[in-house]
């Protein structure tokens, strides 16, 4: 009995010593693993196949990339809801460039990044230097991007460009991972080209956030804007940079999305901004800023994909369930965050501060 209590209290003290970021990330990873195990145990055997996991990854590569960018903005305490719109605009522009202007893939990539850069510069300037609410700015950005997509080309179409089709169908086999089909042949699991970008972006951003001063400044600004200023950090530049990187990644994510679907359409990536925000929040990024990391975001995206997968394999395969499950998860995690903030504040306030002076 006694040792049990001891381990429990030790666990509790270890949890309370975790930083907010690590605590929330751990929750997300745990939730993801538990859900996956449950799916394997209680649902179809299909979840046991590695390819199921890689399918989710392939389908959501673009979402991971733009969610990572969004996480960066949210760490500084802002928000960007233009990422979905930018994705649609980027894939439409790339499609039109390839098919109607005989462009090449490299040019399309440059266009994608250029569009992202333009959005980042404008939105970043408005938010950081003119101090306009980020939500309003990026809401306008989203509508602008959606509208521009229609103006560029109003009808959805498939891209016939050969290079793109080849790229789209490129499959990278994963050694030693795979499953046996009915005849007993080994079929290796594969991933699409976009997943490489996911790995690069996630690893790169993780490193920047963890091991560079600029990266730590994002956290400081998000933790307390006023304090960050007092600590000698250039707050405006940091906020500007976060929006710039976010939009650039939205551009890159748009290109990856384009490679995955191989078409341009004004309806592309609809609702992606919500998925990206939901992924970041589920991945442990605090809306209030200062907390979160891209590993958590990665698992946030995968959790969303997984739960959609589970919901549809349980039989709720009507399209509306997707929206409702995402909303329910978002709502749950938001309330969990809100409770964590209150709890931590309370435990701080209970500390003796007898002579603390007012204002």
């Amino acid at each position: 009995m006694a040792p049990q209590i001891q381990t429990r209290s030790r666990l509790r003290s270890r949890i309370s010593r975790l930083s907010d970021t690590n605590l929330l990330t751990s929750i997300t990873v745990a939730v993801f693993i538990v859900m996956y195990l449950c799916a394997i145990l209680f649902l179809q055997r299909g979840f046991l196949k590695p390819q199921t996991f890689f399918n989710m990854l392939n389908a959501n590569a673009a979402l991971v990339i733009m969610s990572c960018g969004l996480t960066l903005v949210m760490i500084t305490g802002g928000i960007d809801i233009s990422v979905g719109g930018v994705t649609a605009l980027v894939s439409m522009c790339s499609a039109v460039y390839l098919d109607y202007h005989g462009g090449n893939l490299f040019g399309a990539l440059l266009i994608s990044l250029g569009i992202g850069l333009a959005f980042g510069l404008v939105q970043g300037y408005l938010v950081a230097y003119l101090e306009i609410q980020p939500f309003i700015v990026t809401l306008a950005g989203m509508f602008f991007a959606r509208g521009m997509t229609t103006i560029v080309h109003s009808e959805p179409f498939n891209v016939a460009h050969q290079g793109l089709v080849a790229l789209k169908d490129t499959r990278i086999s994963i050694p030693f991972l795979g499953s046996f089909n009915k005849r007993g042949d080994f079929i290796p699991a594969y991933m699409e080209i976009g997943v490489l970008a996911v790995i690069a972006v996630t690893a790169g951003l993780f490193a920047v956030l963890k091991w560079t001063k600029t990266g730590r400044n994002f956290y400081a600004v998000g933790g307390s804007r006023q304090s960050a200023l007092m600590l000698g950090i250039n707050v405006k530049r940091t906020v500007f940079l976060s929006h710039l990187i976010c939009s650039l990644l939205a551009g890159l994510g748009g290109f990856v999305f384009f490679i995955h679907v191989g078409s341009g359409s004004p309806a592309h990536a609809s609702g992606y901004e919500m998925n990206a925000i939901a992924s970041s929040i589920i991945g442990g990024t605090m809306l209030t800023g200062g907390v979160g990391n891209v590993i958590g975001t990665f698992f946030g995206v995968m959790s969303l994909a997984l739960i959609q997968n589970i919901v549809s394999s349980v039989g709720f395969d009507q399209p509306w369930w997707t929206g409702i499950t995402i909303a329910v998860m978002l709502c749950l995690f938001l309330i969990v965050q809100s409770i964590i903030i209150v709890k931590r504040k309370q435990s701080n306030q209970s500390e003796p501060s007898a002579n603390a002076e007012k204002g």
Partner: protein, 504 residues
């Protein structure tokens, strides 16, 4: 620059909308001294420091630093850091979401890379050398407020600074931590660092400081050697006694009024969430009493508890002898209590609304949701009180934010008078407003009391309290420590009770 000066500020002016925060303030800091910057709240200490550290831009004046020819330009805290000025602010200015080590090192040094190993081991050394009970990797938010403050001090000390500013760093520290801090300050003094020390604990000033600069109402009162300024004189310099033009106000009230009657308001063991000790309090019809004490002594918190502005945790309350529950401001208002809050900007005015709406607000709320005043009636009310209190405003529709501080205060006063309270609480009604208006408000208080209203009057200026109150409740360290009436109501008596301990 004067000889031996490490920092000089000349003719600093700074104003915010409606407030002149600093007017022609000079400040000299010598090498290797601990210099106390004293003054009551609103005197301009924090503003002066924020001007020095680049948080606020100054309107006029020059700052000189040793080693720089000509005035230096400080536009941001970063500039200040680079110029060798490091600061510990009154409110903890660290990031709660980062680790202790990061909070010590962020925003400093060159290069892009963060070496966690190096940083954590450096931080560990620093923490042990200063004997701070925190781990470098611990998240700052999980430390107590005192440790957080010590971490802020560690950061400031670790920077190779020539000027160290400590803006009320001791308010959350216990005795041993304060002793630790003082040891550190003396060490730094030996090294030739100039230290600016802001505090409202007089004991501490006399323990470590070499010289004192006193500010009042945004103006320089003077610069003194510590030996030349005994404690009581310091208090009188801080509180100000030059207001001779108020001599015509006389407290004509009988010292005790109707001792046998039922108190208008009575509380036993009242206590709120804001950390004051439970206290007993009563006030009778036509009485003017006051809470006095230095800043942070709990005088505002006490009256807020009476009004139900903070969450009341315990206590029995009687109004006119009947037990009542006062949990929210609206309860207090229904029982005829009115409260003019201490911070006019934060808790008083509704900035963008017109003078008219600001005046009728409280009565309107008391009146109920479905009984709005007609526009004509509201204007009538507003005009009546604008005339009564002589509020200087272009019209009843002028946004209250565009009025001067004194007139804003009168608008809020009008708001509460309009509710015709039996018991009026005025928390620092005279702060930050011109002398003429101060006199008017004091006269009004006495007039209202003569008409039968009970008033609790709080002011940082003891003279005002002496002129208006027939009974003073003295607070120290969030506790009621004394009650003064009749002959005890003298300047020196009050100061001694406030200062406590030493009898000067």
């Amino acid at each position: 620059m004067r000889e031996k000066s490490v920092l000089e500020m000349h003719g600093i002016y700074k104003s915010f909308p409606g407030v002149k925060a600093l007017q022609n303030v000079d400040f000299y800091l010598r090498e290797g001294e601990i210099h106390a910057l004293m003054g009551e709240n609103g005197a301009g200490k924090s503003t002066l420091i924020k001007v020095l550290t680049g948080v606020y831009g100054k309107d006029a004046g020059e700052i000189y630093l040793k080693g720089h020819s000509g005035p230096v330009r400080i536009h941001s805290p970063q500039d200040a850091q680079n110029a060798g000025i490091s600061t510990v602010y009154q409110e903890i200015s660290l990031c709660p979401n980062l680790s202790v080590a990061e909070n010590i090192f962020i925003g400093r040094g060159k290069g892009m890379r963060v070496s966690w190993k190096q940083m954590n081991s450096d931080a560990a050394k620093l923490l042990t050398s200063l004997d701070i009970p925190a781990k470098p990797t611990q998240q700052l938010a999980s430390c107590s407020i005192a440790v957080q403050q010590m971490v802020a001090i560690a950061r400031a000390v670790d920077m190779d600074c020539r000027v160290l500013i400590l803006d009320e760093p001791t308010s959350s520290l216990d005795e041993s931590e304060v002793a630790k801090l003082f040891r550190l300050m003396r060490q730094l003094r030996e090294r030739g660092v100039g230290i600016v020390f802001v505090t409202h604990f007089l004991d501490q000033v006399y323990e470590v400081c070499d010289r004192i600069t006193v500010l009042r109402n945004g103006q320089l009162v003077g610069e003194y050697e510590i030996e030349a300024l005994p404690r009581v004189q310091l208090v009188s310099k801080m509180l100000g006694k030059e207001l001779d033009d108020m001599a015509d106000i006389k407290n004509n009230l009988p010292v005790s009024t109707e001792k046998d009657s039922v108190p208008v308001y009575e509380a036993k063991g009242l206590c709120s969430t804001e950390g004051i000790q439970p206290f007993d309090f009563e006030i009778r019809r036509g009485e003017v009493n006051g809470f006095t004490g230095l800043l942070g002594s709990g005088r505002s918190e006490s009256v807020r508890a009476i009004f139900g502005a903070d969450r009341v945790t315990s206590g029995e309350v009687k109004v006119n002898g009947t037990p009542v529950q006062i949990k929210k401001p609206i309860d207090a208002m229904r029982h005829g209590i009115a409260y003019l809050a201490e911070d006019r900007k934060r808790d008083g005015i509704v900035g963008d609304l017109s003078v008219r709406d600001n005046i009728i607000l409280a009565l309107q709320v008391k009146n109920g949701f479905f009984k709005p005043f007609s526009k004509a009636k509201a204007i009538k009310f507003a005009r009546e009180y604008i005339k009564l209190l002589d509020i200087k405003t272009a019209s009843v529709n002028t946004p209250v934010a565009s009025l001067s501080g004194g007139n804003q205060q009168k608008v809020i006063l009008a708001r509460w008078l309009l509710t015709h309270p039996n018991y009026l609480i005025l928390d620092e009604p005279t702060r930050g407003i011109d002398v003429g208006t101060k006199v008017e408000i004091q006269k009004l208080v006495l007039k209202l009391a003569a008409e039968g209203m009970s008033v609790t009057f709080i002011s940082s200026e003891t003279d005002e309290m002496l002129r208006t109150c027939s009974r003073l409740l003295v607070m120290r360290d969030r506790k009621l420590v004394g009650e003064l009436t009749g002959d005890q109501l003298t300047q020196s008596h009050i100061m001694n009770t406030i200062a406590g301990g030493e009898q000067a």
